[in-house]
Amino acid sequence: MNDIVNLPRRQFLGTVGAAGGLSGLSGLTLGLFLPDRAEAAGGPATATAVNSWLTVGSDDSITLTIGSSDMGQGSFQTLAQVLCEDLMVEPTRVVLVQGGPTMVTPAPIGSAIGTGGSGVIRNNYWKMRDAGAIAREMLVSAAMARLGDSSRGNYSVSNGVISHAPSSTKLSYGAVAAAAALLTPPASAPLVPDSQFRYIGKTFPRADIPAKVDGSAVYGLDVRLPHMVYAIIKHAPTVGSTLAATPATPAGMVAVVPIKIWTGLGRGGELAGNVNAVAVVGSNTWDAWQGARRLSPKWTLPANAASLNSAKFFADAQAALTQALPYTAPNPSPLGALYTVDSSGDAVGLLKQAAIKLDVSYTLPYVAHAQFEVLNCTVDYVAGVKCEVWAPTQVAKSALTIVMAITGMTAAQVQVHTTLLGGGLGRKLEVDFISQAVQVGMAVGRPVKLMWPREEDFAHDQYRPMALMHVRAGMSKSGTIDAWVYRSVSQSIGAQRGGVLPPKGDGQASEGANDLPYSFGSRLVDWVKFNASPIPVGYWRSVGASMNTFVVESVIDELAAAYGQDPYQFRRTRLTDPRWLAVLDAAASAAGWNNALPAGSARGIAIGTAFNTIVAQVVEISGVTSSSIRIAKVTVAVDCYLPVSPGGIEQQITGGVVHAINATLYGRQTFTNGAADIQNFNRSRMIRMNEMPAVKVVILPAPATASRTAAIGGIGELGVPTFAPALANAYFKLKGVRQRSLPFFPNATMSD
């Protein structure tokens, strides 16, 4: 029987009902409140979920249940070391357990938090610290009662052992955990001073790694159930199509199941209610896949299918750039609607008077996520009894919600298990694949695993939006940037999900273009919500920042070249924020910006921000061929305010750089008559080991004493945004050619 403590609402959440998942352990259990993504983004706090869980067992075990998802970022381990700082326990002692989602209020066990926005650490740091401190003080209080000495100064804690100096008595946490559970938790407890940190700021071995080197780690695609069958998805190739007639089940197959786009999951031209796919069910993956290949369902194409071509999308975006009317206009243009994001002074007027004028356009393609584990989901549905779901999801609570909606079951009948994710990159923030698997499970009435072949994963993604940016800037003879006029055209990810846009438009579309810290005399930043493409778009690692930072930092470089100043110094003299300057200097210094390079090599620099972290990159290239650029070295300086795990930061930044290299050099999706052209890695090249540059990550130090009111920065997506402009700037330096559209090598291929 667990001893469950109700914590004051200010810090933690109230009553906890039936305990789940930790039965057999006795001791002190605390429910922590971790904010979900909506709240972190500024939405209302839904103070209803206990979604992390700390148990100090009477057997001296320490268990931390965490509801976020692991897609390789190692944040479970990082949260554990934050907790341990104030709990005063070696982080390696903590057993980490994957939490699940629930609709129960208050939730009975560590439930899921959305994993996105580089948010796991930055949104939960202080809550984990408070939890550790409060638990520690409750345990010490129990020891004080046991020993009959209530003078706190006589006690100290080391690695979960409480020492009472006057009597030389030592009590382990486990020895007093049950007694501590009977105490009323304090509203707050003293935190370890930053100067005495033992764990925060250090790197600890990750608990997930051993299982990832022997094949025992269980990802979504590895889930196996008794009597399970296997389903392969086959979508209509053309966006917006619907199934004309349900095909007969081929010989040897278990079933062919029509798959509907569920309410709330319509995206762009893929409308909710449409049957846009079938699942072919067989006795194993290969047989089902062969069945799907042989099947030729009849699809009803949208009337405009022949016009759904990438060239047309770009032409329409070009037209929207100039023709879009303000979103408040009574007769809006069908191409798009204009939102003013940021305006100061008469930027358009000042442009005309500028001594040095720049007027340039940039284009970005649709880009697929290509996370390495394809979409998949396993469902065990028993009519009227239960629906159990295993999924590699970044949003287990959304998964639970959609499963309840599809099955009509109660939360008590539905169980969602978050598996390990073989990469997420934002694609697994969607639950389309989960909704499909549930439909198959209900149709076949036995356990089933649905898989998207790689070709389906590439061709039916919710892509990083294509975009067109038009930038005009004016400088004086003395090099002041007197006018900055930036207009972007892209689809709204939020609007495709039913969001109503505020007057400044979709904030994610203008990430990286808004609130730039450069000294601009005047500025006008606006955004056209592009309406003339039906292609589904979604959250792709670093979202809008990955798009706008490329353009902004390329244009800054163009201005430096036009003015004839070194691009690093040009930025330096037009930035005033000391943090930005420190990051820029750190990258330049670590990269040896002023050191001469051999002929055929060049460096480029860029700086930017996302999720409260400032990043500068220097990319050094050492050669260009017709099909690739040799990237020799990448130096990344990072200011996330409070770096918790330097090793984790280095891994995540390096991962972001690789993701950005692949996208910048090769990444794009195009459409012909509404169907995706690129379907596998053979036409979407990824760099290999021998192409990997040396990556040096410089982490700016934490403040002497971190403030609760200062924003901690994210890390997971931060390697991405500044890479593309730094590369393009190096390329310009080397070749004298300005790359204004990505990718660099759209026709690159890859074979074994």
């Binding site: 897609m71 390789g72 970022q73 190692g74 071995p205 990750r206 997930d208 790694i209 051993p210 990832k212 080197v213 022997d214 094949g215 025992s216 780690a217 990802y219 695609l221 590895d222 196996r224 296997y230 040897g252 006795s283 194993n284 993956t285 290969w286 047989d287 062969q290 290509a370 996370q371 390495f372 584990e373 390990l420 994710l421 073989g422 990469g423 072949p453 790689r454 891994q651 995540q652 390096t654 991962g655 972001g656 750089v657 690789v658 993701h659 692949n662 596998n680 890695f681 053979n682 990824m686 290999r688 080991m689 021998n690 990997m692 040396a694 990556v695 390697g719 890859m750 074979s751 074994d752």
Partner: protein, 146 residues
Amino acid sequence: MPQLTLNVNGGSHAITVNDTGMPLLWALRDLLGLTGTKYGCGIEVCGACTVLVNGEPQKSCDMDVGSAVGKAITTIEGLSANRSHPAQVAWIAHQVPQCGWCQSGMLMAAAGAMKAGHHGAAIANEINNVCVCGTYPRIKQAVVGL
């Protein structure tokens, strides 16, 4: 339906298939439950499905199960007991994996290169597998002592 016997990780395994053209990858994963071998692309490009066949690295999506009969197949599960293969030890010491999806294939490719007599940096040069997380630098570090 054809019945086949596979020699996997030192043991004989009888399987029944509808199609002897089934790639070894899916026989390992679905019929033998050896899910450590991963599917990445299915077109012999990415290497996530790499196993050893008679000691040599082989993309298991590129070998029919029928032609695997009579050959000694080693998967990540059979690389060692208790993660004791030197490459596994090095991978843990250097904390190589991030998401981990490509790592079984990376390790089998490294093990194959070692079997072929390569050492140190030469092992990394033999690995043509794709990682999209950014583990290449740590793999290069991990193979140094092998």
